[in-house]
Each structure stands twice: as structure tokens, then as C-alpha cells.
């Protein structure tokens, strides 16, 4: 990767969507088929999910991936 490229940070609204539906992390994890630790890691920004998992989340919340995940440019 080129050095002058800005670093892209993936942010998500998963905790917001989850709170809107009054779901616990455990419940969402069960519905999506992952562990609670994975939901914790995604919400905290520690783990970026695969495209497949992102689509599964979008399908579960009946929305688009863009409504859950977005990109912010970070200064190096």
C-alpha cells in the first residue's frame, strides 16, 4: 500500500440498530450465528467483519450495508 494513502477507518452503527430493536449482544449473536465476543469486537471497532457477515447483518436488520458500515478517513 502506498504511504501517501489516507488510512480508512470503518465505523459502524451496529449498537444503534441493536438498541432500536432492544436486542442484547447475545441475542443478536445467536440470530446471526456468531459468538457474543464477535459482536462486542465489531461494535467496539476491534474487528471488521467479512463481506458475508456484513451482508448477514444487513439482511437481519432489513437494511443496506451502507446503513450499518461507513468509512471515515483518518490522518496518519
Amino acid at each position: 500500500m502506498s504511504k501517501c494513502q489516507p488510512r480508512l477507518k470503518i465505523v459502524n452503527r451496529l449498537h444503534v440498530l441493536r438498541a432500536e430493536r432492544r436486542l442484547t449482544q447475545e441475542q443478536l449473536a445467536k440470530e446471526i450465528g456468531v459468538t457474543r465476543a464477535t459482536i462486542v469486537a465489531i461494535e467496539g471497532g476491534g474487528y471488521n467483519p467479512s463481506l458475508e457477515l456484513a451482508f448477514r447483518l444487513a439482511r437481519y436488520f432489513k437494511t443496506e450495508i451502507k446503513a450499518i458500515f461507513s468509512i471515515e478517513e483518518e490522518e496518519r
Partner: protein
């Protein structure tokens, strides 16, 4: 085959405490007690010997199966090393931890190889054999022996001189090195995994 492996694995695991108990018993009481024994005790001794022989045979079979069968390896060794791959995140973390373990193990193996190859010997020659009037000799070498016996022959050869210091490879047995490497692999993997999970939480 899978069912047979499962049954044999259970037999191996159930036999393990018995073998350990036998080992402890023979360590404390020795074989003398059985040599003098007669009747039922002698029969029991022979029976236990047969069981032990079967258990050893079983363990060799399972070791070979572990090398050949991928499913058995995943089932047994994954449990033994506490590998958990319940979702994609855990698969990714396992991959990273395994890479760390592989590279550190490789580094250790290279280090051990160097230690086992280097040979240093400091000795004093008899005055009649002095070289340029000097009797103190420092000998450095790099030896690679395919067989264990040839290594020992070289070690004995150097001992004929008046030795001050001799280093002819690792002082630890190959069995101990293998056991240490097995333990290292398990510990290293789990430590790497813990560190990766901690790093994940640091971001939050």
C-alpha cells in the same frame, strides 16, 4: 473408521490413568515384588503387562492416525490445544496466533540446531606434544551427526585430553527437547491468542 477411531481414543484415554498408576507403583516398589510373587499376584502382573502392551500398541496406532487423518487431528489436537473456531473472527485470530506460534517455534528450532552443532573444546596438551611451545588449545567446530551414537563417539575422543572445558552440543536429551517443544507450542498459541483478544479490546 471414524467410529473405530473414536472408540480406540476413548480406550486410550481411559487406560491413561491406569498406566500412570502402574508407573507410580513400579517407581516406588520396583520389579522385585513381582519377581518373588506367585499365584494370583504373578497372574495379575502378567495380565497388567499384557494390558500395558496393548495400550502402547494403541497409542502408536493413534499417533499414526493423528498424522494421517485430518478429521481426527482436528478433533483431538484442537481440544488439546484449546483451539476454538466458532465463527469467522475466531478463525482469523486462530490463524494469527498459529502464525506467531509457527514462527517462534521455527526460531527456537534454528537456535537449538545451532546450539547442537557448535562444538567448543578448551584443553591442555601434554608438554611433549606442545605446539610452538604452547600447550593450551582452543578448538572450535561445527558438527552435524545424523545418528546419536556417532556424536557420543566424538565426545569420548575429546575427553582423552586434559579437558578444561568441553561443549559438544546440547546437554539435553532429544526426548526432553521434543517434549519442551510440544509444551511450548501449546503455551505459545494460547498466549498469542490471549494477546490478540486483549488488543481487540484495547481498540474499544
Amino acid at each position: 473408521m471414524k467410529k473405530l477411531d473414536s472408540i480406540l481414543l476413548k480406550a486410550f484415554l481411559y487406560g491413561l490413568p491406569i498406566v500412570i498408576m502402574l508407573g507410580i507403583f513400579s517407581y516406588f516398589y520396583g520389579l522385585g515384588i513381582f519377581n518373588q510373587a506367585t499365584g494370583k499376584v504373578k497372574f495379575l502382573y502378567n495380565f497388567v503387562g499384557l494390558i500395558f502392551a496393548l495400550w502402547m500398541l494403541l497409542s502408536i496406532y493413534l499417533c499414526v492416525r493423528l498424522m494421517v487423518s485430518g478429521s481426527l487431528r482436528n478433533k483431538v489436537l484442537a481440544k488439546l490445544t484449546f483451539i476454538r473456531e466458532r465463527d469467522e473472527r475466531e478463525v482469523m485470530l486462530t490463524g494469527k496466533a498459529t502464525k506467531t506460534t509457527f514462527l517462534t517455534s521455527l526460531a527456537i528450532l534454528i537456535f537449538l540446531f545451532c546450539l547442537s552443532c557448535f562444538q567448543v573444546s578448551i584443553y591442555r596438551l601434554p608438554p611433549a606434544k606442545a605446539v610452538d611451545g604452547k600447550t593450551g588449545i582452543v578448538s572450535l567446530g561445527f558438527g552435524f551427526n545424523l545418528l546419536e551414537s556417532s556424536k557420543q563417539a566424538n565426545a569420548n575422543k575429546t575427553l582423552k585430553e586434559r579437558d578444561i572445558f568441553t561443549y559438544t552440543g546440547l546437554p539435553v536429551s532429544s526426548t526432553a527437547v521434543i517434549l519442551l517443544l510440544i509444551i511450548w507450542q501449546i503455551i505459545s498459541y494460547n498466549c498469542s491468542m490471549q494477546r490478540l483478544v486483549k488488543n481487540e479490546h484495547k481498540v474499544t
